[in-house]
Symmetry: C2
Subunit: 249 residues, 2 copies
């Protein structure tokens, strides 16, 4: 059984402020917890129900396990349908991003993405396409937000997400910078080459003026119908696919 103060600590991790203060975030669901236990992240404790206890034997013995009631799981879960396993994972301190490591491949740049579902889906999609690094503006939604973690479906364990001042960082990276805009060049005719950054902007306002200035190639997914715009995670995926097919030629 969880003590009152444990429950209070674990539920506080829904808020960025307390995640930073305590240095932990939560990962929900057996599959996602498995992805984290086999990764660079350090899983501190796995809380699980009795029903799923046998499956815990598959996980590393270096982790603390605590069997708790389904009721306690419900208390600390952020999901509508709580899973039977919740992992308490340490927020790592990654080494500073080495710009040279971004050469000879493509990385994503997110300028003020706000919706946790979009952020998580973008990380999952990046993982599918083998994109290892996502560089985010400091005002982009926190990657350890429970809704982001959930939407990544475990991919967060593999993709590196960096937060930085984009206006300062991008000029130093010295790579072609593609930016998704509504008035750019047709992506189906764009030669993407073999390395670069793909910048995606905020859901409502697109790429900020500061960053737009740094873009070397503005690109657009041609519209054949009438929708005013595409969802940003959708647009990111289409562009990742286009970059991928380009590199396979």
């Amino acid at each position: 059984m969880l003590s009152k103060s444990q429950i209070s600590l674990l539920t506080s991790l829904q808020h960025k402020k307390f995640r930073r203060e305590h240095g932990f975030f939560l990962v929900e669901g057996y599959k996602s917890v498995v992805e984290f236990t086999g990764s660079r992240y350090q899983v501190d404790t796995v809380y699980h129900t009795g029903a799923i206890a046998p499956k815990m034997l598959n996980l590393s013995r270096k982790i603390n396990f605590q069997e708790i009631s389904a009721k306690d799981i419900e208390k600390i879960s952020t999901l509508k349908t709580p899973q039977e396993v919740i992992g308490l994972v340490k927020i790592p301190i990654w080494p500073t991003l080495n710009y040279d490591s971004l050469k000879q491949r493509f990385s994503l740049v997110l300028d003020n993405i706000q919706d946790p579902g979009n952020m998580g889906t973008i990380i999952r999609t990046a993982d599918w396409f083998g994109i290892n690094d996502i560089v985010c503006s400091e005002d982009t939604v926190d990657v350890y937000n429970p809704k982001v973690v959930q939407a990544t479906m475990g991919s967060l364990a593999r993709v590196n997400v960096h937060y930085t001042n984009l206006a300062q960082a991008l000029p130093q990276i010295k790579l072609p910078i593609f930016g998704a805009m509504l008035d750019g060049e047709n992506i189906y005719n764009t030669p993407f080459g073999t390395e670069g950054l793909l910048v995606m902007g905020n859901e409502g306002n697109g790429i900020s003026a500061d960053i737009e200035r740094l873009i070397t190639t503005k690109i657009t997914i041609p519209r054949a119908g009438h929708a005013e715009s595409l969802n940003v995670a959708i647009a990111t995926a289409i562009l990742c696919s286009e970059i991928k097919r380009n590199s396979m030629k």
Copy 2:
């Protein structure tokens, strides 16, 4: 001010059963309501706050307008951040889908899509790519579900969404049937041609066995990284883009 029985009627429309019983659904937000007023749908009443009343003059005079308090808007809204305008829209009875009308173009087929956000995003994406028709299995989430309507961002006003028994309908449509699977042919090498159906399956289980049997070309978005799968709305968008770029050659 709304009467208790009006509030009760309007909030009941969050449930499919009552939408069918009353024959109405709700559209939230000024922009979306504008899309519906200019469409084939019949907007019965627009509920709005006093603050946004001047903007209502832009809308058709055939609609009933009712100014209500922000508090009443909150009561009938399904959104976390309620908008100032909510439209009560009639559920139309469309003519039976004419299969011949699907020739010489691409349409989507959704086999048991369950997540309202995915469904809405797919409709918005279809609208962007000029896909007019979406044929859904009868167990696909209801298109007038408030979360679906919201996620379409107004595109529902333009895209035709049909519900039918897919196992019976697909053989009668007589078009190439492409199905998104994990073991299909590389989409970057697939000749899509100029007409066909694109089948997308359920979030957890993919395309059902009944429907898989009817697929003429299994296709796959090649994976370069490690994510186990792509979100279904993301996969749909990548495939729509691929079909589009194919038709532009």
